[in-house]
Amino acid sequence: MAHLLTWIVVLPLVGFVLNGLLGNRFGKSFVTVVGCGLPLAAFAAAMACVLDLIAGGAREPLVHVAYTWAVVGDRTFEVAFWLDRLAAVMVLIVTGVGSLIHIYSTGYMHEDRSYARYFAYLNLFLFFMLLLVLGRSLLVLFVGWEGVGLASYLLIGFWFEDAEKARAGKKAFVTNRIGDAGFLLGMFAVFWALGTLDMDKVNAAYMAGPPPAVAASVVGVLLFIGATGKSAQIPLYVWLPDAMAGPTPVSALIHAATMVTAGVYLVARMSGVYMHAEFASSVVAVIGVATAFFAATIAVVQNDIKKVLAYSTVSQLGLMFVAAGVGAYGVAIFHVYTHAFFKACLFLGAGSVIHALSGEQDIRRMGGLAKRIPVTFVTFAVATAAIAGIPPLAGFFSKDEILWYAFASGKGGSPLLWAVAAATALLTAFYMFRLLWLTFFGRSRMSHEVEHHVHESPLSMTAVLTILAALSAIGGFLALPHWLEMQLPLPPVPDALHHFEWPLLVVSVVIAASGLLGAWYFFGNDAARAQRVHAKGLHRLLSAKYYVDECYERWLGRPLVWVSDRLFLNVGDRMLLDGTLNGLARLAQRGAGVLSRIQTGSLHRYVLFVLAGSAVLLLWSIGRV
C-alpha cells in the first residue's frame, strides 16, 4: 500500500502537465475532467492509504522511498514519503478540500480565457502541497514549501495584465523567501547536529538520548522564521492581504485552507524539537498571540470582503501558533482542520457574492443580499457562526481548546496569554458578524446596474458551499486532538487549574455571543450606530494597517535600493573601480604621449641626448672610483 503514497503526490503533477501542455488544444471539458479528476483520484488514493493506516492501528507509519536524490560521501538525501496520523489529517484536508475547490472553480472560472492555465497551476499547487505534507525529510518538505510558494505566486498574479496584481505576487514570493532563508538555516542546523534531515530521526534524537550539538531552540527559532513567512505571522504577514489579488477560489485553497497552515504543520511535525525548546516555543506563542490580536484589530475596519477574510486568516493562524507554542500541537492541527472548512466556505461564499455582484468586493456597496442569494447566505452564515465560536459548530470546539491550553498548559500557558487570545476571539466574532450584516442584511447599497444582475451561483459552486458549511457545522465532533495524542501528546495541565475548565468554557461562549451582539448593535439597522462612533484617529490607524507596509518600504526597501544604486553602483563600480582603471589607462596614454615627444626626428636633438647621456655616465663612473 505504501507505494500508493507516491501516487497521491504524482497524480496532481500529471494533471499539471496534461493541462499545461494540452489544455488549450483540447478545450474546456478536457481541462475540467483532468483538472478535477486527478485531485479526486489523489483524494481516493489518500483515503485508501489512511484507511490502511488505521486498519494497522495507526501505530506504524506507512513509508515509501521513491528514489535517492543525491549521495555525497556518507550522507544520503532520499525522496521518501511518510504517512502517520499527523500526515493523514493533513493529506485528507489537502486533497479533500482541494478537490472541492477545484470543482467550485469550474463554475467560478468558467468564463475565464485562461481556464486551462488556471487548472494547471492549481494542480501544480496540490502536487507541491502534497510533497510538503508527505515528505519524510526536511529537504522534501522544503521542496514542497518553496513549490507552493511558486504556485501561490503564479496564482496571485494570475491576471498578470494588471501590474498591481502581478506586484502582489512578487511581494508574496519575496516575503516568503525571507522566511525561507530562515528555514534553510534551520535545516542546516539540524544537519550539522545530526547529519540527517529525516524528521522522524531528528525528532527521536531530540526526544531521547544525549542532547544534539545544536540547541533545540536554535533549530526551533530558525524554522519558525520560515513559518512566519509561509503562515503570515509578524513580521512577515504583509504579503497575505495583498495575495487576495488572486482568483477567490485560490484565496480559499491556498491562502486560507492549506498552504498558509504549512507553518503550523511544520511546528507540529517537528514537535520533538519544540517540546525541548522552551525559548523557541515561547517565541512561537508570543508571536502567534500578537499576530492574532493585531490582525483582528485591522480586520474590524476593512471594507473589502476578501481583505476582512484575509486578516481573519492571519489572526486565526496566530491562534494556531498559540496552541503550538504552549505544546498543544494536536489542538493546533485541530484548528487547522476546522479552519480549513469554515474559512474555505467563507472565501468561496465571498467568491459567490463577488460572482453575483459582477466583481464588486466592497461591502459598503452591498447589503440586503440574504434573500437574493439564499444558498450563499445560509452557508456563509453557518461558517461565520463557526469561526465566531458559536457552539456547537466546528470552530467552537477547536477555539475553546486553544483558549483552554493558552490558559492552563503546563508548558507556557498563562492568564495573560489567555486574555489576549480571548480578546482576539471577541474581535473575531465582532468583525465576522459585521461582515455578515453589511453584506447580507439591511438595505441594498448596490448600484442599480449591479443590482439588476444579481444571481445565485451555479450548482457546482453552491453544492461545494453546502458541503463545506455542513463540515463547518459538524466537523468539531471529531475528537482530533485525542486521536493525534499518541503522536502529539497534549501538554500537562497543573491540577490546581482543572476546576477552571468549565468556567472558561462558559466565558468562551459569552465571548462569541457578545461579539455577535456587538456587531448587531453597531451594524444592525443599516449600521446607523457605527456611523455615529467618532474615533477618527484610531480608524485611520487601523485602516492604514498601522502603516507597516509604509515602514517596510521606507526602512528596508528604499535603503536597499539606495545602497545598491548610489553606493555600490555609482561609488563602487563606476567611481572607484572603473575610475581607477580608466585613470590608469589615461596615465599610460599620457605617459606615452610625453615620451613620444622626444622622438622629434631632429638629428641635433638626438646628438644632444647622446652627449647628455654620456656626460651622466661619465660623472657616475667618476663618482664610483
Partner: protein, 512 residues
C-alpha cells in the same frame, strides 16, 4: 580506435570543422551554418558517449593521452577526463550546438569568420578543460581570449571597442601574472639536473615555503579571479556582456567564466594548499561579498543583459564559497553550481538575444506584458528565471543548497573549534537567496507582466529552432535538479581528492 583517442576527437573536431569551413565559399552561408552545427553536434555525441563511459569508481584520469611535446622544457601533450572536468566538458559540448543554432538568424555579417571563431573558441575552451599539463593549459587559456576579442569586436554593439579593450586588458594582465608564476613554479621544482615538468600530477607533489606559495597563489589567483570574476575585479564583465553579440554572451557566461572557478579548483588551491589555508578568510570574504554585491547591483540595472551579468557574479560567488569551505557537500555543490549557472545564464542570454532580434532594445522599461503576446517565450523565460532563483527541482537549487549546506557545515565545525567567521559568512551568503528572488522577479515581472509594451511589435512567438534550443536547456536544468545523484557520483572522487590535496600541508621538510 582506442578509448583515449575519442577524447582527442572531441578536442579536435572544432579544428577539423574550421579547416573544412575554409573550403566553403563565404557566400554559401547556410552551408557554413550547417557544417558548423554538424561539427558541434558530432562533438556533443562523442562527448556524450565518453560521459556515459566515464567510470565514477576509477580515480585519476580516464581516456588519457600522454605524448612528449617539447622535451627540452619538459612540456607534454597530456589530456584526459577526470571528476574535475567531466561535467564541464559535457557542459561545453552541450552548449556548442546551441550557440551555433542560436546565432543562425542573429549573425548576418561575415558569417564564415564568425563560425570559425566560434569553433576555435570551442576548441580552446575544451582544451583548457581537458589539459593535464600546465603549459598546455596556459596555451589554451590564452587562446580563448583571441576569438572572444574578435567576436565582441566585430559583431558587438556600439561601445564594443571599449568593451573589448577592457576585457583584453583585464585578462591579459591576469595572464601575464599566471605566465610568470607558471615559469617560477616549474623552475623551483626542477630536478638538480635541470629537468622541468609541467604535468599537473608532478606539480601536486610540489613543496614550497609558505611565502612562495602565497606569492604564486596570488598570481594564479588574480588571473582566475578576473575570469570568474570575483568582486572587485569584475567591472569588465557587464561591459563585455552588454556589447557582445548573443553568442559571445552565451559562451562567456556559459563556459568561459567557469574557467576561473575550474582554475581555482584544479590548480590554484591544490597547488598551494598552505597558502590557501592562510588566505582562506580573505577568499571566503570575497566570495560572500561577490554574492551580495553582485545581487545588489543586479537589482538596480535597467539593461536586461546587465542584470544577468551581475547575477553571474553573484552565482559564481556561491561556487567560490563551496570551493573554499572544503566541505565535501560544498565542493560537490560548487561543481553542480558551475554547470547550473552555465545552463541558466546561457539560456537567459539566448532568450535575451531572441527578444532583441525581435524588438531591438535591451531596456527593461521598454517591455511589459510579454506573457500575453508571447506565451511560449514567457513560459521558458519563467522556467529559466526560477532556475536562476534556485527554486527546488531545478539545477539552481541543487547547486545553491549544497554549497550553502556545505559551507554552513564547515562553518559549524570551525565554530565548535572557536572560529565563527565561516559560520557567519555562510549566514550572510544565505541572504543571496532572498536578493536573488528580488532581482530576478523584478526582471521577470517587468518583462512578462503588466500592461502590454512590445517595442517594434507586433512580433511572433518562438519558432521551432528556438523552441528546440530552449527545450534542451530546460531539460538539462531539470535533470540536474531532480536527479543529481548520477552526475554527483562521477565527480565525487575528484571532490574528495581536491579536499585531500588542499587540506594536506606541503611545506618543505614536512614528512610526505
Amino acid at each position: 580506435m582506442s578509448d583515449a583517442a575519442w577524447l582527442n576527437v572531441v578536442l579536435f573536431l572544432p579544428v577539423l570543422g574550421t579547416a573544412l569551413l575554409l573550403f566553403v565559399p563565404a557566400t554559401r552561408e547556410s552551408a557554413i551554418r550547417t557544417l558548423t552545427l554538424v561539427a558541434m553536434a558530432a562533438q556533443l555525441v562523442v562527448t556524450g558517449f565518453l560521459y556515459a563511459a566515464f567510470d565514477p569508481a576509477t580515480p585519476g584520469l580516464q581516456f588519457a593521452t600522454r605524448l612528449p611535446w617539447i622535451p627540452a622544457w619538459g612540456v607534454t601533450y597530456t589530456i584526459g577526463l577526470d571528476g574535475y572536468n567531466v561535467l564541464l566538458v559535457l557542459l561545453t559540448a552541450f552548449l556548442g550546438p546551441l550557440v551555433v543554432a542560436g546565432a543562425f538568424t542573429a549573425v548576418r555579417r561575415d558569417v564564415k569568420l564568425f563560425y570559425c571563431m566560434v569553433l576555435l573558441i570551442q576548441f580552446a575552451m575544451m582544451g583548457a578543460f581537458v589539459a593535464q599539463d600546465l603549459f598546455l593549459f596556459y596555451l589554451f587559456w590564452e587562446a580563448m581570449m583571441i576569438p572572444m576579442f574578435v567576436i565582441i569586436g566585430i559583431w558587438g554593439g556600439e561601445r564594443r571597442i571599449y568593451a573589448t579593450f577592457k576585457f583584453v586588458l583585464y585578462t591579459a594582465f591576469g595572464s601575464i601574472l599566471m605566465l610568470a608564476a607558471m615559469i617560477w613554479l616549474a623552475w623551483s621544482l626542477a630536478t638538480p639536473e635541470g629537468a622541468l615538468s609541467f604535468a599537473f600530477t608532478d606539480l601536486y607533489q610540489s613543496r614550497l615555503p609558505l611565502s612562495t606559495q602565497v606569492l604564486l597563489l596570488s598570481a594564479f589567483g588574480l588571473s582566475f579571479a578576473i575570469k570568474v570574476p570575483i568582486v572587485p575585479l569584475h567591472t569588465w564583465l557587464p561591459d563585455a556582456h552588454v556589447e557582445a553579440p548573443t553568442a559571445g554572451s552565451v559562451i562567456l557566461a556559459g563556459v568561459l567564466l567557469k574557467m576561473g572557478t575550474y582554475g581555482f579548483m584544479k590548480l590554484g588551491f591544490p597547488l598551494f594548499p598552505d597558502a590557501t589555508m592562510v588566505l582562506s578568510p580573505l577568499l571566503i570574504a570575497l566570495a560572500v561579498v561577490s554574492i551580495v554585491y553582485g545581487a545588489c547591483l543586479a537589482l538596480v540595472q535597467d539593461d536586461i543583459k546587465k542584470i544577468i551579468a551581475y547575477s553571474s557574479i553573484s552565482h559564481l560567488g556561491y561556487v567560490m564559497l563551496g570551493l573554499v569551505c572544503l566541505d565535501l557537500v560544498g565542493v560537490q555543490g560548487a561543481v553542480v553550481q558551475m554547470v547550473s549557472h552555465g545552463l541558466t545564464a546561457a539560456g537567459l542570454f539566448l532568450m535575451v538575444g531572441m527578444i532583441y532580434e525581435r524588438c531591438h532594445t535591451r531596456e527593461l522599461a521598454a517591455y511589459g506584458g510579454l506573457a500575453k503576446v508571447l506565451p511560449v517565450y514567457s513560459l521558458f523565460f519563467m522556467l529559466l528565471t526560477l532556475a536562476s532563483i534556485g527554486l527546488p527541482t531545478t539545477s539552481g537549487f541543487t547547486g545553491e543548497f549544497m554549497v550553502l549546506l556545505g559551507a554552513g557545515t564547515a562553518g559549524w565545525q570551525q565554530y565548535s573549534q572557536g572560529s565563527s567567521f565561516l559560520l557567519a559568512s555562510s549566514a550572510v551568503a544565505v541572504t543571496g537567496v532572498v536578493l536573488g528572488a528580488m532581482y530576478m522577479l523584478r526582471f521577470a515581472q517587468g518583462f512578462l507582466f503588466g500592461g502590454e509594451r512590445v517595442p517594434h511589435g507586433p512580433v511572433l512567438d518562438l519558432d521551432l529552432r528556438e523552441k528546440a534550443i530552449l527545450v534542451a536547456i530546460v531539460a538539462a536544468v531539470f535533470w540536474l535538479g531532480l536527479f543529481p545523484a548520477e552526475p554527483l557520483a562521477k565527480t565525487e572522487l575528484a571532490a574528495q581528492e581536491y579536499r585531500q590535496l588542499v587540506t594536506t600541508s606541503r611545506l618543505p621538510g614536512n614528512a610526505p
